[in-house]
């Protein structure tokens, strides 16, 4: 492939570089505990992964969007194959020791294929959606996108990896929205899941059900679809208590703890409470870089992975938290801009899908540290320790740089919206 000069989207790259540097610093701090652990050395590994990821991202920018488009199905096929393979040879690790999300050869853990799946599935979904002449108007028309996302989603939920599953659902909905699917249809698609959640409260579910009937009558989908949705909602509303019984005790506990972390302070709720204490005790300016006592004295669990943002809150305070949010906001706004200016619908959908994927990660991970979201073991982009996710994030940056370069306006646009 010939090396060709093209405009680089520097605002995007700079924000991503800042986030990565910030993140690696926090990984370093997470290792600074009073009783030394292996975490102490992980920041170096993370730095190496970062450099590798930069190289990989640079390589990706050499690929034209056409090439990426062309490679989508082969990559998707490889992804599915790997996910199937994982169900047989997958290994657990760390806080998710019982799941099978790791690919290992000879006991050496290479990476988590599901991180890369987040990108390939976005690409595949973008390819499917961009093929539509008009936005889908009915459920039946959505069978293709549903299949493209549903297969890897089911494989990942089988590992089980609830966090990644949530991410898939998140970016799938976001991409449908970006493809122009009307919001009543999105609500109808989501309705069975809402029924499932509300089934525990008969009154709430009743209200939701009436609302759904009203929506069906107003939106007027095909009759079969309308009946199908209503029946599905009834089934889910009634079935979910039974499903609850089927859940493993630790899964039930996680959900319960989300509702009230004080239920079992010493066990599952302990993590969330310690995270809240760490963040709350940080105050305006924090306890100082590497000085967080909750982290130093090991009260904070998974301080370099799932709960890394609690380290930010404890050591750098509200100021540090706001800085991180600002960087994320700049990243998201920039990517929206790229999606808006993309040359074709495939590029636009890819850009928006990658944005949505990051956004769900940030929302669920950060929300979890403050007990606003259930504990799902989902990493924070650019912050949480983990090579595969760092690589995936920077591959996404590489793709976005390319899309931005090929899009209208390129890098000439202002940094703000």
């Amino acid at each position: 492939m010939s090396v060709r000069r093209f405009p680089v989207d520097w605002p995007l790259v700079i924000v991503a570089l800042l986030l990565s540097t910030y993140g690696i610093s926090i990984v370093y701090s997470a290792g600074q505990t009073d009783i030394h652990t292996a975490v102490e050395r992980l920041w170096k590994a993370q730095a190496v992964w970062f450099l590798l990821s930069l190289a990989a991202a640079f390589a990706v920018t050499r690929f034209s969007v056409r090439l990426i488009d062309w490679l989508t199905w082969p990559m998707y096929a490889v992804t599915i194959a790997m996910l199937v393979l994982l169900l047989f040879i997958g290994k657990g690790a760390g806080t998710a020791a019982s799941s099978k999300s790791w690919l290992a050869i000879g006991g050496f853990r290479i990476g988590q294929p599901s991180e890369l799946a987040k990108i390939t599935v976005v690409l595949a979904l973008a390819k499917v959606l961009s093929a539509y002449k008009e936005p889908p108007r009915s459920l039946l028309e959505l069978w293709k996108p549903a299949l493209v996302v549903g297969i890897p989603w089911a494989l990942i939920m089988k590992q089980p990896d609830l966090g990644t599953g949530i991410v898939f659902v998140g970016f799938a909905f976001a991409m449908l929205f970006w493809a122009g699917v009307s919001w009543p249809l999105l609500v109808l698609v989501a309705s069975p899941v809402v029924s499932l959640i509300l089934a525990f409260n008969t009154k709430l579910w009743g209200a939701w059900f009436l609302l759904l009937i009203a929506l069906v009558l107003w939106y007027k989908p095909y009759m079969y679809e309308g009946i199908f949705l209503v029946v599905l909602n009834v089934i889910f509303g009634v079935v979910s208590p039974i499903v609850w019984e089927k859940l493993a005790p630790y899964q039930q506990k996680r959900l319960l703890v989300f509702i009230n972390p004080d239920i079992d302070r010493r066990l599952a709720g302990y993590h969330v409470i310690q995270s809240q204490i760490a963040i709350g005790s940080g105050g305006w300016f924090g306890k100082g870089f590497t000085q967080g006592t909750q982290k130093r004295l090991a009260f904070l669990p998974a301080q370099h992975t799932d709960f890394i943002f609690a380290v930010v809150g404890e050591e750098l305070g509200f100021v540090g938290v706001t800085l991180a949010f600002t960087l994320f906001l700049l990243l998201f706004l920039r990517v929206t801009k790229i999606a808006e200016r993309a040359n074709d619908s495939f590029s636009s959908l890819v850009a928006f899908g990658l944005l949505a994927s990051w956004f769900v990660h940030v929302l669920v991970n950060v929300g979890m540290t403050l007990n606003l979201m259930p504990i799902t073991g989902i990493p924070l982009p650019f912050f949480s320790y983990g090579g595969s996710f760092m690589l995936a994030s920077w591959l996404a940056i590489g793709i976005l740089v390319r899309i931005s370069a090929e899009g209208r306006g390129g890098r000439s646009g202002p940094f703000a919206v």
Partner: protein, 593 residues
């Protein structure tokens, strides 16, 4: 697919709004936790990482009247373990038992202490020896929750000499903690258990301080210094007593290892207790930090009952020392004067009803005045005086002389003296027709239904030694508290004292006279109810004071199974000599009853 630029811009705006809205929502959430609720979480974070270690305060030093130390504090070591869960503690203790000598009961006790106060470090060895401490320091890294503190430890320089009144301290018990009076106490703290230590607990107890150590999530101590400013313990103020430690040592020396009994020495004017001893005594120092089981068993199984405080708890028939009470009642009611003689002469005994009542001296005393009857301790005289007074008057007189009360000393162990308040007592006990006036004969000579403490007899004699008002015995200096006991004129009191002088000068206790000092007092030989080879053993009493014209000390001595009262008189004489710093007269020997 709708990718018209306008549609895209609209969706882009919606997406941006969504992203900004969610991040704004999260920002508000963090603001709430980090700024609004910061105080709450900062406190929880501190509670997480800091553990409070109590720093025991030194107890108040107890001094005698001359500034000599009775109870002091020395540096001791306590070994504690900081654990989060009982299982963890149990595991640590079992490992500790492999390093130092830790018994099963000690482990169980440690676990009980933990259950009562899980947040505090659990005291395992309240009073560790230096050897144990040095072994533990060597293996410190193996026991992350181990705390070795130097803490003040109670020490009594004179040990068993002072234990009869000073008591001892020990860890507050579970039973005590359950009481509201101990609401401010925490498990593992020291508390006075007996004597002054218990009576003046609220004064002697210092204010506990705190040291803060930093622990990690597993309760391992990470940092001991500088985690937070320590709270310095505040020592309690000293306690000044009326005790004369030199005299107390002298008394203990006289008793040695062979005698058993009790002594109370008081200043008759102030009621200040100069010495209070019970023999055999136990060593309070060995009680601190847990009594060794072997020592405890030896004390409990000792037939001389060292744990029983003979000066405060012992209830004995007062014998002839009580004749002064009969005398006072007789003088008060006008039934006799010091010179009156009784109609029946003493011929070694007298017949009353169907019974023959003996005098202690079979040879008989003949006709005697009251003065001489006291000096010779003639039982026949007092039988008749008792009959003359009648049971009701004698009982009422005894009540007026506080023979049925506590002397009111500031020690928790004191027991009440026993004296029938009215004849109802006999009706209740023997039935209305089950007893006769003959009981008055026994009561008049200090036998029968009459049990006095050594302390109460000493108190009674303070009234005789002064103006008829009895001084309340006090160990700790306070304002003298006196109670009018007898309505006798100064002249009558002088006559009574004269008779008591007669006891020592030519009377039953003439062997105990002191050169240059007039000693006044009364011997007593009381039936103990204990027989050896068919012969009843007697308790030997002496209660007296000196100098007779201006008494500075009242001494009550009781030797259990000591035989004749003269034996106690000799001891009392020595005690008084030691106190007044005078030499004894070696005089002719005499016998008494």
């Amino acid at each position: 697919m709708s990718f018209h630029p306008n549609d895209i811009r609209r969706r882009g705006q919606a997406a941006n709004l969504m992203v900004a809205g969610v991040l704004g929502f999260l920002t508000i959430g963090f603001f709430r936790s980090q700024v609004v609720q910061h105080q709450k979480y900062a406190l929880q974070s501190e509670t997480n990482r800091l553990r409070e270690l109590p720093l025991p305060a030194p107890r108040g030093v107890i001094y005698d009247r001359n500034g000599k130390v009775i109870a002091d504090n020395v540096i001791g070591y306590s070994v504690s373990v900081l654990a989060q869960k009982e299982d963890t503690l149990r595991a640590v203790l079992q490992r500790l038992a492999g390093t130092i000598n830790l018994t099963g009961p000690q482990i169980e006790q440690g676990l009980r202490r933990f259950r009562r106060a899980p947040a505090r470090p659990t005291v395992i060895i309240p009073d560790a020896s230096f050897d144990v401490v040095s072994v533990l320091e060597e293996h410190r890294t193996q026991f992350p929750g181990l705390i070795i503190q130097s803490s003040p430890r109670r020490f009594y320089p004179d040990g068993p000499v002072v234990s009869p009144f000073v008591g001892y301290t020990a860890e507050v018990s579970e039973a005590e903690l359950a009481q509201p009076a101990f609401a401010e106490y925490k498990a593992g703290q020291q508390v006075g258990k007996q004597g002054l230590e218990r009576e003046y607990e609220s004064v002697l107890r210092g204010r506990e301080g705190s040291q803060f150590v930093e622990v990690d999530a597993r309760g391992r101590i990470v940092r001991t210094a500088g985690a937070r400013q320590d709270l310095i313990p505040i020592a309690a103020p000293p306690l000044y007593t009326n005790i004369d430690l030199d005299l107390q040592r002298f008394v203990a020396g006289i008793f040695g290892d062979s005698l058993q009994g009790g002594v109370v020495a008081m200043d008759p004017k102030t009621g200040g207790v100069l010495a209070l001893y019970s023999a055999p005594a136990w060593d309070a120092n060995r009680f601190i930090g847990g009594i060794p089981a072997q020592y405890w068993d030896s004390l409990r199984n000792d037939p001389r009952r060292p744990l029983y405080n003979k000066a405060l708890q012992g209830q004995y028939p007062p014998g002839s020392t009580f004749k002064l009470a009969t005398t006072v009642v007789g003088l008060e009611t006008g039934a006799v004067t010091m010179n009156d003689k009784m109609p029946i002469p003493c011929t070694g005994g007298m017949q009353y009803g169907s019974r023959y009542f003996r005098c202690w001296d079979k040879r008989g005393h003949g006709y005697l005045s009251l003065h001489d009857a006291i000096a010779k301790s003639c039982d026949v005289y007092f039988y008749q005086l008792g009959l003359k007074l009648g049971i009701s008057r004698l009982l009422a007189g005894g009540v007026q002389l506080h023979m049925n009360e506590k002397a009111g000393i500031d020690l928790p162990e004191e027991r009440r003296a026993r004296w029938p308040e009215t004849t109802e007592y006999f009706n209740r006990r023997y039935g209305k027709s089950g007893w006769t006036q003959s009981v008055v004969l026994n009561l008049a000579i200090g036998q029968g239904e009459n049990s006095q403490t050594i302390l109460n007899m000493a108190r009674f004699y303070t009234a005789l030694a002064t103006d008829g008002t009895a001084a309340k015995p006090e160990i700790v200096r306070r304002n003298p508290d006196r109670v009018k006991m007898m309505n006798l004129t100064p002249q009558q009191l002088d006559e009574v004292r004269g008779a008591l002088v007669g006891v020592v000068q030519g009377g039953t206790a003439s062997a105990s006279a002191i050169k240059g000092v007039q000693l006044a007092g009364k011997t007593g030989t009381a039936q103990s109810g204990k027989f050896v080879n068919g012969v009843e053993l007697n308790h030997a009493w002496f209660v007296g004071f000196a100098p007779a014209n201006d008494p500075k000390i009242v001494v009550a001595v009781m030797i259990e199974f000591g035989g004749h009262g003269t034996r106690s008189a000799a001891i009392a004489s020595k005690i008084i000599q030691a106190y007044l710093h005078v030499a004894p007269i070696v005089d002719q020997s005499s016998v008494e009853g």
